[in-house]
Amino acid sequence: MSRRLITDAKNTWCPGCGNFSIQHTLKDVLAGMEEEGRSLDNVVLVTGIGCHGKMADYLNINSFYAIHGRTIPVATGIKIANPDLSVICCAGDGDAYAEGLTHMIFAAKRNIDITLIVHDNRVYGLTTGQYTPTSPLNFHGRSTPAGSLEKPFNPLELALVSGSTFIARAYTRKLDHLRSTLREAIDHRGFSFVDVLQICATYYNMTESYNARVYELEDHDPADFNAACAKMREWDYSSDAAIALGTFYRTSAPTFDEEFSKGRQGDEERKGAIAALLDQRV
C-alpha cells in the first residue's frame, strides 16, 4: 500500500509560493521511488528554518525539523549512523548559504552521501524581506533600503570548487525538469546539490524575468569540470544573462559515510574489549 504523502497540517505558505512546486515535485519523486519498491521508511527529510522548513510538517515522511543553517550536519550524522538511509536536506538560501555555509562547503569536501535541495528564492521570506547571499547587487531589502552593497555568491561555483560530486540547477516553473533533476540528485551516490530557483510571491517575484531567461542545458558533458565551470559562470546571480538549468557537473568518488565501521558491538564483546584495554594499561 502506498502511503499518503501529504500530511493534514495546515499549509501556511503564501498563495503562489514556489514552495508548493518543490513540495509536490518531491512528493511525486518519493511516490515514484515507492512504486519501484523502495521503502520510504528509509527516507529522512532534514529541514532548516525559513518558509522552506515547513516541508517537514507537510510531507508525511520521517523528518528532522532542525534549526536555521544546520540541516547538513544533522543529515551527515544521520547518514553516518545509518548509511542505509536516504537523507534529503531541504534548506533555504539564507539557511544554506549564510548561516550554514561552512557546513555546505564541508559536506561537499567530504562527499557525504546526502542530497541538498536549496529553495533559492534569493530573499528572506519568513523574516519579511531582507537580502540573502544570492540576492543581486543593489537589492532593496528591509535591511538594505538603499540597495545591498555585496555581490552575490554563485552557489554552483562554490559547490564545484568545494568538491561536490553532483551539481544542478532547476526552476519551480519547469516541473518536469525539476522532477527529473531531484530524482537524479537523490539517486546520486555522494554529495548532490540542487539549487532550485524559486519565486517568492510576496518579496521577490521573479517569474517573468526567469521565464524569459531560463533554458535547459544541451550538449553539455557533466563529467567535464572545465565545461561545468564555464557554464556555471554564464550567470552570476546578479546580471541579466541567460540562466542554464540542468546537471552541470557529475562525477563519482568515495563517500565519507562508507569509511566508518558498521554494526553495533554486542554488550559482552564490548566488556571484553574494555577489559583487554585495561589489561594493557597495567
Binding site: 528532522f64 525539523y65 550524522g77 549512523a81 554494526g263 566488556k271
Partner: protein
C-alpha cells in the same frame, strides 16, 4: 605509609609527559598507587614542561609541593623547582646541559655513543632514577618495553647506561600490592561511555578534551565505534543529534569556548528531546584564557546554557573511578530521559593520570531506555505521566518519526496553539522530576574523610582528591556532590547532617558551587578559592584549611 614524589622537567618536545607516564608505570609496577600532574604551557617546542609523579601506599588524587627526586633535562627545571627540594632530595640532571648540585649524568654523550636520537635523553635520565631509587633492573626493563614500542633495544641500552652511572640514594621499596591500570581522567570517561554502549563520538579538538578524541579515535577499531572530527563545534553538536536520531548512542567533547558554539544545538536537543552526552573539560577563561591550565569556572554556564527552559543532567566526577562509573551513567540517563547529560570535568582530572582500581566503580553496563512497543500511529512526543515519550528509531515499518525544534504536538508537527505550547513546556519540565527521583537513588553525593566531623570541606570535581587527603589528616568531613543538576537536595542534606562549619574549596573566583547551594538555603561559612590556573597541592590546601578553621 610510604609516599614519594618525583618531578621530571624539560622543554616541550622533549617527551616530558611520556617520561612522567613511564615513571608512573614503574612505580605502579612496584605496587604503589600513583597520581601524575602534568604542567605545560600552550606551545609546541621550548618553554618549560614538568610532570610531578606521586606514588603512595594509599589511594591518592593530588600532587605535593615537596619532592624526593628532581630529574632535570634542562637548567630551567633545576632553577624553577629548587624551592621544592630539601637536603634529602635526590637531584639527577643532564650534565651536558645543566649545572647543579647532585648527580650529573652525561646523558647526551651516552645517547650519541649508543646511536640514539635526542628524545632518548629522557630514557637515560629515567634509567638513572631507577638506580637512585633502588628499583630492580628487571622492573625497569619490563616497563620500558611496555611503554616504548619504537627502538626498544637502543632505549634499553641508554637506560641501562644511566642506571649504571649512579648509586642507590633513596630506595623506593616494592610493595606486595596489586598493580592497577593507569588511566587519565579522559580515558576513564571514554571507557565509561563505552561501557554504556557508546557508538559514536563527535568532537573538534580543544584542550583539555582533545586527548579524549585521540583516545577514542585510536581505539575506534577495537570498539567498533564511529569517531568524527567535523568543521566546528556547531557541526559537532548537530551531527551528534543526527547520529542519535538514527539510533546511535553518541557523545561530544569540548571545552568552554567550543561549548559556546554548541549551545544553540543544546537548546535544540532540549526541544527535540534527542539525547546527547556532552563531555565538558573546563580550563581557565574567559575566552581563550589559559588553555592548558585548570579551572572550575563554567558551572553556572553549563547549568544555564541554551535559550528556553529544559532539564539536563550535570554530572561532575572527581577521580578516574568516578569518571568511569558516572560517564556510563550519564549516557544511560540521557537516553532514558531523552535529555542532555553533561560530564563536567576540569583539566586537572581530564589530563591527570590515576591508578584505576577496577573493583571500585559499580558495574553500570548498557541500560535500556523506554522504547515504543507498537500501536499506530507512532507519536514521537506521546504524552506520558513522566513526560518521557517512548523512543523509536528509523526505519520504523510504515510509521514516521518526526522530531522538531519548533513547539510541536505529540506527533512532532509545528504548533502555536497556547494550550499545546503550555502542554509541551510542562512535559519537558515534568521529566526533571523523574530525573531527580532517579538521581536520588544513585548515591549522588559523596562523603569522605572523617564522616562524623562537624567541620566539612565542600568541593566538586578533581578537588575531591586533595580535599580527602587534607581532611583525613585534619579529621574533617568532605562532601562532594557528584550530580549538580537536577541537584540532589535530599542526599546533600543527608551528607550535611550535624555539620556546623562548611568550607567550600573551588577553582574559581566567585564560588560557583557555593552560590548554587546557597540558592538552595545552605549556609557556606567560608570559601577557599583558587583561580590562577593551578590545582591545589596537598601543602597549599592544608595551609589554607588551617587558616580558615583555626
Amino acid at each position: 605509609m610510604n609516599d614519594y614524589s618525583i618531578l621530571i622537567g624539560g622543554k616541550a618536545g622533549e617527551g616530558i609527559n611520556k617520561a612522567g607516564s613511564v615513571i608512573a608505570r614503574i612505580l605502579s609496577h612496584l605496587g604503589y598507587f600513583q597520581y601524575m600532574y602534568y604542567d605545560y604551557p600552550s606551545l609546541i617546542r621550548g618553554g618549560h614542561n614538568f610532570a610531578i609523579v606521586r606514588a603512595s601506599t594509599r589511594r591518592i588524587g593530588t600532587h605535593r609541593n615537596a619532592i624526593d627526586f628532581l630529574l632535570a633535562l634542562d637548567q630551567n627545571t633545576v632553577d624553577t623547582h629548587r624551592w621544592r627540594c630539601d637536603a634529602e632530595t635526590v637531584v639527577l640532571f643532564n650534565a651536558n646541559k645543566v649545572e647543579a648540585e647532585g648527580m650529573g649524568i652525561p646523558i647526551e654523550d651516552i645517547v650519541d655513543e649508543e646511536g640514539g636520537s635526542s628524545v632518548m635523553v629522557n630514557t637515560g635520565l629515567i634509567g638513572a632514577f631507577g638506580r637512585a631509587a633502588g628499583i630492580p633492573w628487571d622492573t625497569m626493563e619490563a616497563v620500558l618495553t611496555l611503554e616504548i614500542p619504537k627502538k626498544i633495544e637502543t632505549n634499553l641500552r641508554i637506560a641501562r647506561r644511566g642506571y649504571d652511572t649512579v648509586e642507590e640514594q633513596n630506595p623506593i621499596p616494592p610493595q606486595e600490592k596489586t598493580t592497577h591500570p593507569i588511566l587519565t581522567g579522559n580515558e576513564a570517561i571514554g571507557l565509561g561511555l563505552l561501557e554504556a554502549g557508546l557508538e559514536a563520538y563527535v568532537a573538534y579538538p580543544m584542550t583539555p578534551s582533545s586527548s579524549l578524541l585521540h583516545f577514542l579515535a585510536g581505539s575506534a577499531g577495537d570498539f567498533g565505534i564511529k569517531v568524527i572530527h567535523p568543521e566546528n563545534e556547531i557541526a559537532v553538536m548537530l551531527m551528534a543529534q543526527g547520529c542519535a536520531y538514527a539510533g546511535a548512542r553518541t557523545a561530544v567533547g569540548t571545552s568552554g569556548g567550543g561549548f559556546c558554539l554548541m549551545s544553540e544545538g543544546l537548546s535544540m536537543a532540549g526541544m527535540t528531546e534527542v539525547p546527547v552526552v556532552i563531555v565538558m573539560g573546563q580550563r581557565g577563561g574567559p575566552s581563550t584564557g589559559i588553555p592548558t591550565y585548570t579551572a572550575q569556572g563554567d558551572l553556572h554556564f553549563i547549568l544555564n546554557a541554551g535559550q528556553g527552559e529544559f532539564p539536563r543532567f550535570v554530572i561532575s566526577p572527581g577521580n578516574a573511578e568516578q569518571a568511569y562509573e558516572w560517564s556510563a551513567r550519564a549516557l544511560n540517563l540521557s537516553w532514558k530521559y531523552q535529555a542532555p547529560s553533561f560530564i563536567l570535568v576540569d583539566k586537572t582530572l581530564a589530563e591527570g593520570t590515576y591508578s584505576f582500581d577496577r573493583e571500585i566503580p559499580e558495574p553500570v553496563g548498557r541500560e535500556g531506555e523506554p522504547r515504543w512497543e507498537g500501536g499506530s500511529p507512532y507519536h514521537r512526543y506521546a504524552d506520558t505521566e513522566s513526560g518521557v515519550s517512548p523512543l523509536a528509531t528509523v526505519p520504523l515499518g510504515g510509521e514516521v518519526i518526526k522530531v522538531n525544534s519548533y513547539h510541536h504536538d505529540e506527533h512532532g508537527t509545528t504548533i502555536e496553539d497556547p494550550v499545546l505550547v503550555a502542554w509541551l513546556n510542562e512535559k519537558h519540565m515534568r521529566k526533571e522530576e523523574a530525573m531527580l527521583d532517579q538521581i536520588e537513588t544513585l548515591s549522588p553525593v559523596v562523603t569522605a574523610g572523617k564522616r562524623s566531623a562537624e567541620t566539612a570541606l565542600l568541593c566538586w570535581g578533581s578537588n575531591i582528591g586533595v580535599c580527602t587527603e587534607v581532611a583525613e589528616e585534619a579529621g574533617l568531613r568532605v562532601i562532594q556532590p557528584l550530580v549538580l543538576s537536577p541537584f540532589p537536595v535530599q542526599a546533600f542534606n543527608a551528607a550535611l547532617e550535624d555539620v556546623t562549619t562548611l568550607v567550600a574549596v573551588e577553582d574559581n573566583l566567585t564560588g560557583q558551587l557555593t552560590r548554587l547551594v546557597e540558592g538552595l538555603g545552605c549556609c557556606v561559612d567560608d570559601a577557599i578559592l583558587r583561580y590562577d590556573g593551578r590545582p591545589f597541592s596537598l601543602e597549599e590546601l592544608r595551609e589554607h584549611v588551617e587558616e580558615v578553621i583555626a
